[in-house]
Symmetry: C2
Subunit: 218 residues, 2 copies
DNA sequence: ACAATTTTTTAGGTTTGTCTAAATTTTAAT
DNA sequence: ATTAAAATTTAGACAAACCTAAAAAATTGT
């Protein structure tokens, strides 16, 4: 049996390891769990004893095979609940994260199998992130950061790096969402900001912004 | 903020007070929470400090107004989730209790409002129990125990006292469910067992059985 | 009324997950 | 190669919710 808290740690460690190539650091985990680094150290020791993570003092941490299996289960549940909330209960995509953060911990294989079926076996969540199947397998999509798009080509938004409410609300404000079509109008060398054409409308966005949006070529 | 555990206590105390007319006892609560009486004593003291219950040592316990408000919120959530699981995810009525026991603690007013709407504002849960509205108001139905039905009249099943899996499975086995139609064929004075006509089929049931089924006259 | 039994509470502990403050290790800067 | 700074871990505590064993209060039977 893996606790609520352990599930949150597993998910966070999974994500930190997936983005960077080396293990997750104590401080990074503390920030995402909203706890102190000392608490994280404690927890990592316990999870290491339980063989959920590979951990050597001062050396960062990564998931064991079992840990990764469990992490992917939580991610699957999180994203399926997000689809449910948006598709069935008509929540906006920027309102569902916190709720899914709780729902993901309901422990029942049957529940998730039936929810998946009820939703029509969705492949992606409302933020464009792939939903692992029952065996933890994820559909990989070829995607690049908005930062690196080229003039003359057409792109489709497929996901966001930052999924904070603030960011998602800003996206809504400038009329960008999943499957929006984008082309590069002009790249400003000075500060790497970009003038984009989003669904026909021209908008200027910062480098920080373009680093947080994933697109794929059409 | 009321914790997961407190919500379970509130619900249990509500139900114990609703059935019997005097307050809930420590032992009864311990049995339903699956804890020891000493743990219940501890918890009651804490909940009393927080003004969720009226509690005097050795005197049993009942809910304050605030406690009752919170209890009804949890009951509402529990029953709405049960409807969701049966109506939308096609679970059987005897499979949903444990799951709803977890889902009921997800904290979000909006979630429940939208779930209620999605389900079409149901009045009763899959076991025939009324669902409190947003303000905690419950639709009362005139109902009697199966034990007290009379010959010559027609009755409809409207709820169960015992909602354990064992009981619900037995009901399924003898072909009785919510809104089944029942008439009394014969009452055996010796042991108070009854021969019933359930949807046209004749079945004999014990006194213990009839004490656990609620019906209303048609 | 009084002893026996049952119910309830108190005392003292445990586990989980967190904290602050202090110590240690690693990394970065001279 | 030292030293300063940053990251991490340890030490010692705490709150929530539970436990067992023992004490106290309430109830029951005679
Ligand atoms: Mn979570
Ligand atoms: Mn998502
Ligand atoms: Mn519950
Ligand atoms: Mn029910």
């Amino acid at each position: 049996m893996v606790s609520f808290t352990e599930e949150n740690y597993l998910k966070i460690i999974y994500k930190l390891c997936a983005s960077g190539d080396n293990g997750a650091t104590t401080n990074a985990i503390a920030q995402l769990t909203q706890t102190k680094p000392s608490s994280v150290s404690d927890m990592l020791k316990k999870m290491s004893d339980r063989q959920l993570v590979d951990y050597k003092k001062y050396q960062g941490v990564s998931l064991t095979e079992e840990g990764e299996r469990l992490a992917l289960r939580v991610i699957r549940r999180h994203r399926l609940w997000e689809v449910f909330l948006v598709e069935k209960l008509s929540f906006a995509w920027d309102e569902v994260h916190e709720l899914a953060e709780e729902l993901e911990h309901i422990e029942s294989e049957q529940l998730i199998i039936r929810l998946d079926e009820f939703l029509g076996f969705p492949q992606f969540d409302p933020h464009g992130d792939p939903i692992p199947d029952q065996h933890g397998k994820i559909t990989k999509v070829k995607k690049i950061k908005l930062t690196h798009i080229e003039e003359g080509l057409q792109y489709k938004i497929v996901g966001m790096e930052d999924t904070s409410d603030a960011f998602l609300q800003y996206l809504t404000k400038i009329g960008m969402d999943l499957s929006s079509k984008v082309t590069l109008v002009e790249k400003i060398e000075f500060d790497q900001s970009m003038v984009l054409n989003i669904n026909g409308k021209s908008t200027t966005v910062s480098h920080k912004f373009t680093e947080n949006v994933w697109v794929s070529e059409l």
